[in-house]
């Protein structure tokens, strides 16, 4: 075989299979092995984490009540064109469904559900419940309208149709302080119910402020740690890591102990005569409490990424700059600062992402002015049981966080996430 043939066919191995193919096969096998190692965790995360969250998010648009409670009517109702009153046929189905719900004791749920959109619908349905009992047979349309005139109004049926849509955008509208009015137009919520947009803005504002504060406090110590000899810097890193390792609740407790009106800081100020005993300052259970506690808790997340970038900056460059006649300030701003910016980006994004979702600290030390969006989600999950709204608020927050996470991956790279 001459060289030209070899070039054309590739090297043939002793078992007759071309080398190229064998190599490809071996590579493929390695690929599969690598992937199989990841499969258990991937499956685990998908089952315990991704599916539950995805499932929860569908609740933000899900509107299953009428589909479940109006089994006979629902298909016709969704197809109804809404131009004129439905015929006897649909009234019969409506009657049948209402009877079915009365028997199952679920009529109250429907009444409440329709009432969201049409105030007064609750009493209308509950009242007609009694009157409808008298109806024994067809024609249902006339008898129902006679029993409750509003069943003969086009408007009632339109509302019924609107609230029966298995997909709803009303939770998302609520989440941005809007709602449907009686005619189905999108309007702003009444003034006293407009809280969520403000809350989203406040959450972003608190996160930005915390990021800025951790940067201002963290930059000097990251600089110090990265420029001192290892003997000292190891000790300093441990001082940064200790809060990182201490229970979040313990740290929040500490801030309560320090900052409350009968707390250590107020006591000290009274003792040295800075404030009068009756003039103690309210430093916690408000926005200030949230800011202070979150800044201290998140500071390590800022310092560690900055430190890992700063320690790669050669100190000889700083000396070179100074020996060439630059002042220390000029040296810092022309040499050190520009090279430390990636660390600021990494730390800043991480702190911002983490603070957007903060829940425990605001709940414990935030009072009412220091609450964030997570607290409102928890409230709707646990107390008001408005799960659709909780899901809508959660979806908006999650999308924001994922965009930041994607940015983090693009700019910093997840591989570069360091943990101490």
């Amino acid at each position: 075989m001459n060289t030209q043939a070899v070039a054309a066919q590739g090297v043939i191995m002793i078992d007759g299979v071309p080398l190229k193919e064998q190599l490809a096969r071996a590579e493929r096998k390695k690929k599969i092995t690598a992937f199989m190692l990841v499969v258990p965790l991937l499956a685990f995360i998908i089952f315990t984490f991704v599916i539950p969250i995805g499932n929860m998010l569908t609740r933000s648009v899900d509107n299953p009540r009428m589909t479940n409670q109006m089994p006979s009517l629902i298909d016709d109702l969704l197809l109804w064109d809404g131009k004129e009153l439905p015929g006897e046929d649909m009234y019969a189905k409506l009657f049948q469904d209402i009877q079915w719900n009365i028997e199952n004791g679920t009529i109250g749920r429907i009444a409440t559900h329709v009432n969201y959109r049409m105030p007064g619908a609750r009493s209308m349905i509950v009242k007609s419940k009694r009157k409808l009992k008298k109806i024994k047979g067809p024609p249902y349309k006339e008898q129902m309208i006679e029993a409750e005139p509003r069943w003969g109004e086009l408007h009632t049926w339109r509302i019924l149709q609107q609230v029966s849509d298995p997909l709803t955008s009303s939770y998302f509208l609520n989440a941005i302080d809007k709602d449907y009015d009686i005619d189905g137009n999108v309007v702003a919520q009444p003034e006293e119910k407009q809280i969520y947009v403000t809350l989203f803005i406040r959450t972003l504002w608190i996160s930005a402020l915390v990021t800025l504060l951790t940067l201002i406090l963290g930059y000097p110590i990251a600089y110090l740690i990265s420029t001192t000899p290892p003997r000292i810097s190891n000790l300093l890193i441990i001082m940064v890591l200790l809060p990182f390792w201490t229970s979040l609740l313990v740290r929040t407790t500490s801030w309560i102990v320090l900052l409350q009106t009968q707390g250590v800081l107020n006591d000290i100020m009274v003792w040295i005569g800075l404030i009068a005993d009756d003039g103690r300052i309210q430093m916690i259970y408000n926005l200030n409490g949230t800011l202070v506690a979150m800044t201290q808790i998140l500071l390590p997340f800022m310092v560690l990424p900055m430190y890992s970038v700063m320690k790669t900056i050669p100190l000889s460059q700083l000396r070179a700059s100074q020996s060439l006649g630059a002042t220390p300030f000029r040296t810092f701003f022309r040499i050190f600062w520009p090279q430390s910016i990636p660390g600021i980006g990494a730390g800043g994004l991480l702190v911002f992402v983490l603070s957007v979702g903060y829940y425990i600290t605001p709940a414990l030390v935030g009072g009412s002015s220091g609450q964030m969006i997570s607290n409102q989600i928890a409230f709707h999950m646990r107390s008001s049981l408005n799960w659709g709204l909780a899901a809508a608020l959660g979806t908006i927050m999650l999308v924001g966080v994922l965009v930041l996470y994607w940015l983090y991956d693009r700019i910093v790279g997840i591989d570069n996430m360091k943990l101490g």
Partner: protein
Amino acid sequence: MALPSYTGPLGRIWHYTFLVICGVVFFILMAPIMVIIPLSFNAEPYFTFSEGMLRLDPDAYSLRWYQDVLGIGEGTGSNRGHEWAFSARNSIIIAIFATLLATTIGTLAAVGLSRPQMPFRRPIMALLISPLIVPIIITAAGMFFFYSKVGLAYSHLGVVLAHAAIGTPFVVITVTATLVGFDETLIRASASLGAQPLRTFFKVILPLITPGIVSGALFAFITSFDEVVLIYFLADADQKTIPIQMWSGLRQQISPSILAVATLLITFSVTLLIAIELLRRRSERLRGMSPQ
């Protein structure tokens, strides 16, 4: 950062100002944790230093809150000690199982992800790390609905699975970090000497990445041990843990017993931190890096 001899007076002033600023920041970092420790020995049921404590009067200090928490000593008259012991037992059991699960599958995945042939590495990595980034309240809400549906809510198993899920990113991160710069020729050397892949894993790869595994496991452990929100959503009284008991204590009437618990937890974290630090140094030594 020794000051070079050519520094001018202005430079000197700035240098010391800078050190003072750093001192203040370290103080802010440490003070809140440090202040809790002496206060937990307060003889009075207050959250601040009594005059006796400032005078270092031994009578102003006592172990009563520790006795209260540990359920020993006279006259506590409550079963609070019993409650804390019950929570501690739960915390430890849940954290141990969550850690075992997270560490096992996390390590396998990290080994796979570190292979150069791994397909779709970046998106898969992003997905596996996401439990660390997604706000805990969203995770909790999602798990609450889903686990209720499949019958995992209000059980130890459900809490263990939930905690394992949020613990795995730490294992993946720390183990992949130890595998960076892993010498692939070692695997080939082992294979050429006749070892099966499994034997190679246990005899060659595992000993080298053990420090990473252990520190990832410690992260997973502390994550579970310190976790409140998932427990709050997924558990009932049977799965009560130390953090959830502190949480309800802090939201209602706070008793100084909480400070005693906090001090015990701080001791615990210091121990873990030292363990991690020693492991990190060992890992760097094993991989032939300088101790720094």
